[in-house]
Amino acid sequence: MNSLAPATDASPALTIELARQSAMCDWRGVLFFADLDLLVVSDLHLEKGAAFARRGRMLPPYDTAATLKRLGGVIADYDPGIVISLGDSFHDHDGAAEMPEPFREELAGLMAKRDWHWIAGNHDPAPPADLPGHASQEIAIDGLTFRHEPARGAAPGEIAGHLHPAARVVRRGRAVRRACFACDGSRLVMPAFGSLTGTLNVLDRAFAGLFARERLTAYMLGRKGIYAIAGSMLR
């Protein structure tokens, strides 16, 4: 991997190799396997605002609409036959059941005529209520394993979410922090897609042991493009 400094004209997607499969990291935070016609999105955290409201914190009720709109955008662009939602699709157990009807319809519309998979996450261990799609703990396709939480000692080709990776670079005394795909060629951790989701620095202890540090690259999500930053440049 080359250590690119943020370029002025970043491309909207960069191709990576993972367990001999090639995939595109899209600047909007989704991963697309063209050969498999497969789109991966992780940590949607739908109905997060409502989940907080149920516990007495009245966060804006607009996150679900915003997330669905962005999701609709990438699905329209790639028109994938298969979609994997990599867990924490809903922020809490009640999320799917309590979701307002218009949102449910919108989501069902995105799912229609696609092979849609809900991977179980720690926020949503049970399959979402009243929604179609297949639910599973993990999925293996062509040497790739899709699961929510990265498993230590997993075979190469693991694609996971859960950790909400972000990367930080410091240039000329200024720090820039963005959500990112974190990948060392053997494992990939997806950025969180949900509108109200925070991030965790990929150098945090929670990531310890997941990546071969010298091969780690962070694909940082820019405003209009994606930037590949070598692990050695991260702070």
Binding site: A53, R57, M58, Y62, A66, H164, G198, N201, R205
Partner: protein, 843 residues
Amino acid sequence: MEHRTRLIDGIAAPYLPTPFSAWFATRGWQPRAHQLELLARTQAGRSALLIAPTGAGKTLAGFLPALTDLADRPKPRPGEARRGVHTLYISPLKALAVDIQRNLAMPVAEMGLPVTIETRTGDTPSHKRQRQKYAPPDILLTTPEQLALLIASPDADCFFSDLRFVVLDELHSLVISKRGHLLSLGLARLRALRPALQAIGLSATVAEPEALRRWLVPQNPPGAMADIVTVTGGAKPDITILETEDRVPWAGHSARYAIPKVYEAIRAHRTTLLFVNTRSQAELLFRELWRINDDNLPIALHHGSLDVGQRRKVEKAMETNSLRAIVATSTLDLGIDWGDVDLVVHVGAPKGASRLAQRIGRSNHRMDEPSRAILVPANRFEVMECRAALEANYLGAQDTPPLVDGALDVLAQHVLGAACATPFDADQLYGEIVSAAPYAGLDRETFDRIVDFVATGGYALKSYERYARIRKTRDGMWRVSNPRIAQQYRLNVGTIVEAPMLNIRMTRRGRGGASRGGPVLGKVEEYFLETLSPGDTFLFSGRVLRFEGIRENECYVSTGTGEDAMVPSYAGGKFPLSTYLASEVRAMLADPKRWKRLPPQVAEWLALQRDKSVLPRREDLLVETFPRSSRHYMVLYPFEGRLAHQTLGMLLTRRLERAGAHPLGFVASDYAIAVWSLNDMSAMLKDGRLSLAALFDEDMLGDDLEAWIADSWLLKRTFRNCALISGLVEKRHPGQEKSGRQVTVSADLIYDVLRAHEPDHILLQATWADAALGLLDVRRLGEMLSRVHGRIVHKSLERISPLAVPIMLEIGKEAVAGDANEALLGEASKLSGEELMQEAMEG
């Protein structure tokens, strides 16, 4: 000492019970006239404001009404129900409450009064708080946050059943913040519970005492005022500006040049208090003093970021007079009596005449002896500012800021607190709230929106009705929907929002936080640490530290080598130059007769400016344009303080962009603004492509401001505070840090969502109002634009002017707008003041 007594007819002479007159007599003292007058007014049933300088016996005066009343109270009969709190004392600082307890305990014991006095602060253990609920003391010393908690409790009515007096100390400093807003609402609630309650405000001298008098009493009828007792006089302070033959720097804030003289002054006095404006200045000064401290004088450092244990040690040492000097920031600003200070040195400009007077009041606490103070300007503009402040202090000018309307985030917190105490009727609560002076102008619609916000977030999309925190029940009363809400409220009460801070912990070099680490030295803002890379050094707690890394909520450091460190960046104008001082500095600039009192090097500099360019008149705005190294500069001198200048700089840059000048960046100081561009602004002004009148038109505060501000980090920072105070998001509590950042909802994200979907939301309105007043200083900018209307003096120059030298030197030190300007930074950082001055002199 002189007492201005304005006795109103019908006020009877004060009644002083025997133990009191006897106590004064055995000491050979007389009660002071203002103490008696305050007593007389309160005995007549009135609320009153006491304005007095430090050392006038304010505390005793404030407590006399309570103590005399308690002295005559009959002993409780056996079997009588327990008595509630009689007097509530509220101060902005925990330390002050503790200090007062100590000072009050002595006379109470000596007079043998049957009075119990206790403190209740954030540090009070829960078993003691619990006990206080069952057996309240007669006098409770506490803080605004604790009052908010007490009134939000279901048994508040019972706890305060015997409340007679509220004593509000350091009122001048409380009322200007959101804590003051919270306190005013608490006071309104207490008055609703006990309508006969009397308030006693204690304050230093302020510009508008009427505002404080209104603050103390219910605003129904509007404009009602408490009585006032004013103590004037005292010995004139003896203030000088440090005299030096050394060259006073053009720019910067370090005052390094003056260190040897300052050290001499410390040696010549018993105890010296050194005030600076920022923590980094404190660190630097402390370090520089120790560098030359050949006599090993005990010199200590005190600022808010240091570890509490460390601070307490310094305070203890001050009390016992075992220190010769203390370098301090505003943590020591307020009226705490510590030790025997006989000299105050103020390094850097005081930024306000009233602030200077209050800081100088720290020295020599006996009112009849003059306080001694030395001002040490750090650069040439500060020389003028110090001179102006000094003259103002002699003249007794006051420039405390005017009070602002009560903040809406604080109101939201209070409304939830009210529901936690007992179900409320909206009409009644509204009436109670508008009786508090800061909220007297609150309209009913805004109040109702706040209630809606508290209930369900106040969103246009009504999807949270079923999760409402408070609900209107069939009897028309609003109630909390479950006990968990009240619990949440109690954990989040208060208005003090600190920038996220990380602990500074010692470790061994190169361990990057891999080892367990040593002691914690204190806390530093996260945003500062985020810009460091391992190996960088900075000054903290008087030593050079090497940054090793951040792990979770701790920053690991090791002992740095060498003397030099990258100092924490100057935090900027924490206190903007007061309007009054700004106007005085402009007046001084315009009047060569007044230069005689300035050091010769400064007077010569001004004379050069007169020859090479022009000196603006007091009400004028001077705008200079000149080319330099293939850039074109515009420098203006409004003297309105850094905040207003920053806002103006942003707006000017936008307008110049539209006019096709291609501005590249700008920099703002307390005194001036410099904008630089690719195109020749002199030529554009000459041929009419650019018009100064249009450039500085007041309409820039409309759409331009809104368009710029919406995306600014300034607004996000403000929003974060509003979100926390209003209860939209939770404060993080110790221990929760570990739950990981990915699950906490950052206020920035909420801000973006809200801006995109509901730009008229009440919390965004509150944020905007806050930012306009605080970080943007829009009011001041507006006043300035209307003042200079038709009075803009433009001078097109061949080269940099003498007056422009200081601001041009700031260019290398400040962040500039846009990303393309890094090359300019490098270029500018190589400049020196002497070279620029040389340039100004050429031709």
